[in-house]
């Protein structure tokens, strides 16, 4: 081997070494990427068939590293006696990195004849960092499981002893009763409201002002205009809480806007009243009594909310 060949080989060797150093510098090591690994488990004893076991894995990593969800255990049967019921992964920012929390709920379906130690198998969680995979091993977890029944066969009248059927719970009528009370309340309240509108509530006499006036008019002898006018004046005064005169009708309408629709009839009534009491027209017309009755009836309709 001459000098040229030797120098060429040295050059190749140096380049290879340099490349190796560069590659190892680029790759993320586990120690650098995962700053914290915590495996939280419950007590490792006292389990029976059908029990659920909750595991929590807490892993802190540098930012920019993503957990590969496919490497977590899948929901479903892991083996004959172990099922994964739920897998939940959540991540949050912590300082300069990320915190990954993985909650796994296992369920054990193993029927031991005596207290027996079992193991939930371990697995590796993979993180991806710029196309490279970093693995974090989760160790297997050992626990003991106990039988529920004795080894010897226990029999009752029906043969092998087993727990009886589960009877259905009594159907609850609580919601129905609540809805019934609510419906009854609506009925009572709406009935009270209607009674109020129709003036049947004894406490709310202002709803019955024209009802009483109508009764009084009905009892009056025909042609007794003076009494009829007095009755309606009294009803209007009671409603207005003050004596009502024709020139104060606008103010009355502001306080009792429902009666504005009877403005023509009320004006006509006051004109008849003025002519009768102040102009001295004793005989003011044959059908005036009927008009007063009609006004009272219309007022009664307004009072009941009918107009």
């Amino acid at each position: 081997m001459n000098n040229d060949e030797r120098s060429a080989w040295e050059c190749i060797l140096r380049l290879t070494l340099l490349l190796g150093v560069l590659i190892s510098g680029c790759s993320g090591s586990l120690e650098q990427s995962v700053s914290r690994f915590e495996f939280l488990t419950p007590k490792p004893f006292g389990y029976v068939i059908g029990d659920e076991i909750a595991h929590r894995i807490v892993i802190d990593t540098r930012s920019g590293i993503e957990l590969n969800g496919n490497t977590l255990p899948k929901q479903g049967e892991l083996n004959r006696w172990l099922t994964v019921n739920r897998v939940e992964h959540s991540q949050s920012k912590t300082g300069q990195g990320m915190r990954h929390v993985v909650d796994i709920r296992y369920q054990v379906f193993y029927a031991p004849l005596e207290v027996k130690m079992l193991a939930i198998p371990g697995f590796s969680v993979t993180f991806n960092q710029r196309g490279q995979a970093i693995e974090q091993a989760v160790p297997s977890w050992h626990f003991t499981i106990s039988p529920l029944r004795e080894l010897a066969v226990r029999k009752d009248d029906a043969g092998e002893y087993m727990r009886p059927d589960a009877p259905p719970a009594r159907l609850s009528n609580r919601e129905t009763v609540s809805r019934l009370y609510a419906s009854l309340l609506i009925v009572v309240l709406s009935a009270l409201y209607l009674a109020y509108l129709y003036g049947y509530l004894p406490g709310l006499t202002r709803r019955g002002i024209f009802k009483r006036a109508q009764r009084q008019l009905a009892r009056l002898p025909e042609r007794d205009i003076a009494s009829a006018l007095s009755v309606v004046h009294h009803a209007l005064n009671t409603l207005n809480r003050n004596p009502l005169f024709q020139h104060k009708l606008d103010e009355f309408y502001r306080n009792q806007p429902d009666y504005r629709k009877l403005a023509d009839e009320l004006n006509a009534f006051f004109e008849v009243s003025n002519r009768y009491f102040f102009a001295g027209y004793g005989d003011i017309g044959r059908d005036d009594f009927g008009k007063i009755e009609r006004l009272c009836r219309l007022c009664r309709e307004v009072e009941r909310g009918g107009r």
Binding site: R80, Y110, P167, L171
Partner: protein, 186 residues
Amino acid sequence: MKVSLRQGVGWSLFAAGCLSVIVQLWTFNRIERENAWIAKLLSGHDIAIEKVIGAQPEVRLARAIYLRQMHRYDEALATLNLIIDQGGTELQMKTRYNLGNLYLAQAVEQTESMNFNEALPLAGLAKQAYRQALVLDSGFWDAKYNLEVAMRLLPEMNRINIGDDDPESKKSKLWTTVPGFPRGLP
């Protein structure tokens, strides 16, 4: 007579309230009636099938219990299959548990008669039903106990050693055992 808007609202509320009262009273009566049917079935007396048809799934569950007590297994199975996905979690759990009991009772009977070929699939179905019930409620102690009974009736040989739980051995070791209860110690 003219009816105002307020009167219309009042009458509408009143009518709706009355209608609702009637509906709630009818519902209350139905619930009480169905509770009486459940009590009757659980006390060992049958009710007419027409009553069960439109009733809540709880009534069917009670009838399935009655039918199993009467050893009318096929009818009980058909009844439970009808309500397997009905109702809330608690009812579904009980349905699956009772279904497991139904299979297990038959498996035990077949085992006692030395009909192992018939007992094997029944015990397997019982285990499956109990496991489903326990997935819904892992604190269901009766299901735990009866699942253990079913497991003892039909032991799974590859469960003995932890190392045998890999998926390949799971496929290759079906029905490697004879059903029956270990006699145990005196």
